[in-house]
């Protein structure tokens, strides 16, 4: 992550999807919420679960499992919504669980290997090996491309 040169570590939030751990910088995270009632929005890609009322702001919710094309499961108590704030919008991401916040040494971030599971590689900005954990760093700008014209080919 070139913009972080000059710092030794990057504080990141680690969360879980299926059996893998992912990470994203803490700077973009506005908060972590428990599941709340979601209003469906028709005619949107299936990974857009709908919108929630986040303290007066209507916030869209994306199911990361579906976004990555992973198998879906019933929501349970562990599920969390991570609210991230990008350039000009906020989106909530549904994850299986939010595990912890860690400092990732910049040196340990490596470019993604050729094959990383089933997650589409364009969503990944790098991988981190910490002790025995393997963390996948997400490229949120790619994961959350604004839906300009919602057409059928996105289903």
């Amino acid at each position: 992550m070139p913009e972080l040169v000059g710092q030794d570590t990057v504080k990141s939030i680690v969360f879980q999807l299926l059996d893998k751990e992912y990470a994203m910088e803490v700077d973009v995270v506005e908060g972590i919420e428990k599941l709340m009632s979601i209003t469906r929005v028709p005619k949107t890609p299936s990974y857009v679960k709908g919108v929630i009322n986040l303290r007066g702001v209507v916030t869209p919710i994306v199911d990361l499992r579906e976004r990555f094309g992973l198998e879906t499961k019933e929501m349970d108590d562990n599920n969390r919504i991570i609210i991230v704030s990008l350039q000009d919008f906020e989106v909530g991401l549904i994850v299986d669980a939010a595990n912890d916040v860690i400092d990732i040494p910049l040196r340990s971030i490596e470019p993604q290997p050729e094959v990383v599971g089933s997650v589409e590689s364009e969503f990944i900005s790098g991988v981190v090996k910490l002790d025995k954990r393997l963390l996948v760093m997400l490229n949120l700008d790619k994961v959350l491309q604004p839906l300009k014209r919602v057409s059928s080919d996105e289903y």
């Binding site: 009632s37 209003t39 469906r40 929005v41 028709p42 005619k43 949107t44 857009v48 709908g50 919108v51 929630i52 009322n53 007066g56 702001v57 209507v58 916030t59 869209p60 000009d88 919008f89 906020e90 989106v91 959350l144 604004p146 839906l147 300009k148 014209r149 919602v150």
Partner: protein, 687 residues
């Protein structure tokens, strides 16, 4: 001086003054003989010069100063108003606007004005008006003589000041010219000036000073300065008081007699008008009458001005947001109260609803500003465009006082510019063509705004060529917007509306005025994004009428809440004609389209669940269906829903930038129970 805190005020006021310059210059162009208008422009320019010099924007001050000189020459009849001169003055105002905008954008407000300044200098010197100059010079000489005779009161007074002096004389005040001379070795001139002013202001009112107050504060004068004082005290006591200030060398107090000043002024004006009489005898009388009329209008307008304060629009936005939160909570309270059936609670909630309703009206009203703020830049634009296009066009503005929410005002400017450009470029024909068609040489474009119900209408009408059916159809076919078969059956109105379709531009010649490919479809989409509609009515050869319908406000709307598969959706009341419960057996089929017979009209049915791709719980078992009849323009449609919930005021919220355009959803709102409900965009459902 710390000027930052004044910057905003400076920008606001500069814009106001520039606007008034523009307006009055346009007026002046129509009545070149009316020197009262020149005075207005002069006053604005003068204030602007003073302000910009104080703020340290030298270029603006420079340019206004030169402009002022030219205006001064005009009002002293040294030079005559011509279109060429006005062009230059307009250009100067343009430059000034650019500089002010630059400052607003954080720039330095610097711009190379030397060329314009030299042109202004030349005009001032009378170069462009060679023929008139000999006559004007003699007049000027006469004027100078006239001013030289009464030596005592040395100052010039404009009409406003004369009125003030005259009025105060009626109330027993006498006006004095107090000339104060400070000692040559005076160290703190500004301080002495301040002391003198303080003394004078205790005994009366200072209405004018030479040099002006800013120059005095900056010690930008020699030893002498003169002020005009209105007071009830006599000469002796005034001069005695002023002399008490140390380092004052000499005080001279001269009474001013309004009558003599007025006479002098009259003499000047008569001299000036005599010239005009010689040149244009016929025009003189009506022009003078008009002047008188306009002056009386102006003075009444001034006396009616209300007390206002400037409030930053951000604060109003915050207020609005807070109020929106309150509306949401109000909804919640209402729903709790209905569940609890407690009479006291019900009463309180009802009262609160009423009060907050009033509050809502006031807040909404506060955000309303007249469309004038958008309209007032058009006359100049039309003038310029007409000259560029070599056409004669008159712009009429009706209903500029109509008020609209600020958010709408902010957005409506560009589409209107586009429409006007379109009307000027493609609508109104060239003078030769118009004469050939037997129309008056000068084309008329009318811009009209008015309220109707919960909407504001803005109409743009021109008496130009109108929409050419064949050409539009040919073009639409060529672009693949319509098919041959549909072309034949289209009504004239439908054809006219084709020019709003995307990818359509009828101009055969691409000009830089309009027709850069983006065309009117942008106008249409902008207006629709504001929750409005645009329609076109056009008669070939007689002109076109573009009608834009806009909602009064955007943030709080009345909706009908309906249920669809356990989700709640909101349909704006403004689109709803009525609701109905129909028997399933009344539904008919026409070409695979379900329709009903609604009060004699065949209305297509739209099943919202199908549209939104929800699992359909199939037709209700009791054989009845709830239908909301909605309209778009003149077209109707029946939206099939599961059930009606009720009517409510809601706060419109956007879905955010992530979900930029969801089909048939125009936004969302938060209901009393904290749930989000989506707002149905009926416009998207009716083709």
């Amino acid at each position: 001086m710390e000027t930052n805190q004044y910057l905003e005020m400076f920008l606001d006021e500069s814009k106001e003054h520039l606007q008034s310059c523009n307006e009055h210059l346009l007026e002046l162009e129509n009545n070149p003989q009316d020197l009262a208008i020149v005075n207005e422009v002069f006053r604005s320019a003068h204030t602007l010069k003073g302000m910009s010099a104080t703020m340290g924007y030298e270029d603006i001050a420079d340019l206004t100063h030169k402009m002022e000189n030219v205006l001064d020459a005009i009002r002293n009849s040294k030079i005559e108003v011509t279109t060429e001169i006005l062009d230059v003055v307009f250009k100067a105002v343009d430059y000034l606007e650019e500089m002010v905008l630059d400052i607003e954008a954080g720039g330095t407000g610097k711009k190379d004005v030397s060329e314009l300044v030299s042109i202004l200098n030349r005009i001032e010197a009378g170069e462009h008006v060679a023929e008139a100059s000999s006559a004007a010079e003699t007049a000027a000489a006469v004027l100078e003589e006239a001013t030289d005779i009464p030596a005592a009161p040395a100052m010039d007074y404009d009409e406003f000041e004369l009125t003030v002096i005259g009025q105060s004389a009626e109330q027993g005040f006498t006006a004095y010219e107090v000339t104060v001379e400070l000692r040559e070795d005076c160290l703190l001139k500004a301080a002495r000036v301040f002391m003198v002013f303080e003394i004078l202001e205790k005994s009366g009112e200072v209405i004018k000073s030479i040099p002006n107050v800013e120059q005095l504060e900056n010690e930008d004068f020699d030893e002498k300065f003169t002020v005009v004082l209105l007071t009830k005290e006599d000469v002796g006591s005034i001069s005695a008081k002023v002399m008490k200030v140390s380092e004052v060398e000499h005080v001279q107090v001269l009474p001013i007699y309004v009558e003599s000043l007025k006479e002098e002024k009259r003499a000047k004006e008569e001299n000036a008008s005599k010239l005009i009489v010689e040149e244009a005898e016929t025009k003189q009388k009506p022009a003078k009458e008009e002047t008188a009329k306009q002056q009386s209008k102006r003075s009444t307008a001034a006396s009616h001005s209300n007390k206002t304060i400037r409030v930053n629009i951000d604060r109003l936005d915050v207020l609005m947001n807070l109020f929106e939160e309150l509306v949401i909570d109000r909804g919640r309270l209402q729903s709790i109260a209905t569940e609890l059936h407690n009479p006291d609670l019900n009463e309180t909630v009802e009262r609160m609803t009423r009060v907050s309703g009033d509050l809502q009206n006031i807040i909404l009203n506060m955000r309303m500003i007249p469309v004038e703020t958008v309209f007032n830049r058009f006359p100049k634009m039309v003038r310029q465009l007409a000259r560029d296009l070599d056409k004669k066009i008159k712009l009429e503005i009706i209903g500029a006082e109509t008020e609209l929410d600020r958010t709408v005002i902010d957005e409506i400017g560009d589409p209107l510019v586009h429409l006007i450009r379109n009307a000027l470029d493609h609508g109104v024909e060239s003078p030769a063509e118009r004469i050939a068609k037997g129309k008056p040489e000068e084309g008329t474009v009318t811009l009209r705004a008015y309220h109707s119900g919960n909407h504001v209408f803005i109409e743009l009408e021109d008496d130009g060529a109108g929409v050419n059916r064949e050409r539009v159809l040919a073009k639409a076919l060529e672009r693949g917007i319509i098919t041959e078969e549909s072309a034949a059956t289209m009504t004239d109105k439908q054809v006219a509306e084709l020019i709003l379709a995307s990818g359509f531009s009828t101009a055969e010649k691409i000009t830089d005025v309009s027709g850069r490919g983006v065309g009117l479809d942008v106008v249409k989409s902008t207006i629709e994004s504001l929750g409005g509609y645009i329609t076109i009515d056009s008669k070939e050869g007689q002109g076109s009428l573009f009608q834009v319908q806009l909602p009064l406000t955007l943030s709080i709307i009345s909706v009908m809440l309906v249920e669809l598969d356990k989700d709640i959706y909101a349909i704006p009341l403004s689109s709803i004609i009525e609701t109905a419960i129909i028997q399933t057996s009344d539904i008919m089929n026409a070409h695979n389209q379900k329709v009903i017979d609604f009060r004699g009209n065949i209305v297509p049915l739209v099943n919202l669940k199908d549209i939104f791709e929800m699992e359909d719980g199939d037709v209700r078992s009791d054989g009845f269906q709830s239908v909301v009849i909605v309209r778009k323009g003149e077209k109707l449609a029946g939206l099939v829903v599961d059930s009606f919930i009720g009517q409510q005021e809601i706060v419109l919220k956007s879905l955010g930038n992530y979900l930029q355009s969801v089909f048939a959803i125009s936004g969302a709102t938060i209901l009393g129970n904290g749930q989000v409900a989506l707002i149905v965009d009926c416009n998207a459902l009716i083709k």
